[in-house]
């Protein structure tokens, strides 16, 4: 139970602790890279069955972005698609025996939220220019500038805490059910955790698109 908040250190590499989370992240990364490489090695215009699976994912994410922020689909796809695939796969990783969801560690989710935190000004400045972007902080009144900054920080923290709390809570419930009766009792909760994991990935993606499109659009001022 101590592992809930402090991940277990497996070994040391060049003086840095390597936790269970890091190893699970490597496995998720390897899985994603390997399958993307294998399925798209021989790309065809008329997709084969395996290439079709990946095109399904890419198109679903592209449509999601286009629905929420029209015209920005291609621009946001690399960042948002990576976040969606990584979070989706790593939420489900917790079900594999011996592995731990990377997203059930606060360090991973906070890192992902920080990526979004820095991507917002990056896309904002690139599309609207530095002057217009900074001016949006002082609109409608300069008094509101500190509140804009506070809201950017709190929404980053809440983005990280939401994903972490959901996945970690789910894993803890499954662990407690395993202690009670290891045979069939955890099964419904494990099935439910697939659902929650995908929903959480969806919510993280949608909120990222909302924040990015708010930064890119000039919001009428």
């Amino acid at each position: 139970m101590e592992e809930v908040l402090n991940p277990h250190i497996l070994f040391w590499l060049f003086g840095l602790p390597v936790t269970k989370t890091v190893v699970s992240t490597w496995i998720v990364m390897g899985f994603l890279v390997l399958f993307s490489f294998l399925f798209t090695r021989k790309m065809r215009l008329i997709p084969t069955r395996l290439q079709n699976i990946l095109e399904l994912f890419v198109e679903a994410i592209l449509n999601l972005i286009e629905d929420m922020s029209p015209g920005n689909g291609r621009k946001f796809l690399p960042l948002v698609g990576t976040l969606a695939l990584f979070i989706g796969v790593s939420d489900i990783t917790g079900l594999v025996p011996g592995l731990k969801s990377p997203t059930s560690d606060f360090n991973t989710t906070f890192a992902l939220a920080l990526v979004v935190f820095f991507a917002v000004p990056y896309y904002g400045i690139r599309t609207r220019g530095l002057k217009n972007y900074v001016r949006s902080y002082f609109s409608p009144s300069p008094i509101l500038a500190p509140f804009h900054i506070i809201s950017e920080i709190t929404r980053t923290v809440s983005l990280a805490l939401r994903l972490f709390g959901n996945i970690m809570g789910e894993e803890t419930i499954i662990a407690i059910l395993f202690l009670l009766s290891p045979l069939f009792l955890p099964l419904p909760m494990m099935l439910f955790s697939i659902f929650t994991g995908v929903i959480q990935a969806y919510i993280f993606t949608v909120l990222t698109v909302v924040y990015l499109s708010a930064a890119v659009e000039s919001s009428g001022h």
Partner: protein, 88 residues
């Protein structure tokens, strides 16, 4: 020793009670949001896509309140920062 046991009792009680309270009110809010969304989808089935997307974002916002409580009670139970002052 009495004081230490009292501290542990209060910690566990607070963790359990805060989860109970902290889940109750977001649950009421989520129920209201869901029922409103269902009503509006029933009235306008062609708007189901945007409504359910907005509903998901809103539910995520509501849910994060309950998640904060969960994180606080996990900290109280598993990583209590005050323990080192009580058990010297």
């Amino acid at each position: 020793m009495q004081g230490e046991i009292l501290f542990l009792c209060i910690t566990v009680f607070t963790a359990g009670f805060s989860i109970a309270l902290g889940v109750m009110f977001p649950a009421i809010g989520q129920g209201k949001a869901c029922s409103q969304a269902l009503e509006s989808i029933a009235r306008q089935p062609e708007a189901a896509g945007p409504i359910s997307r907005t509903l998901f974002v809103g539910l995520a916002m509501l849910e994060s309140l309950a998640i904060y409580v969960l994180v606080v009670s996990f900290i109280l139970l598993f990583a209590n920062p005050l323990l080192k002052y009580v058990f010297k």
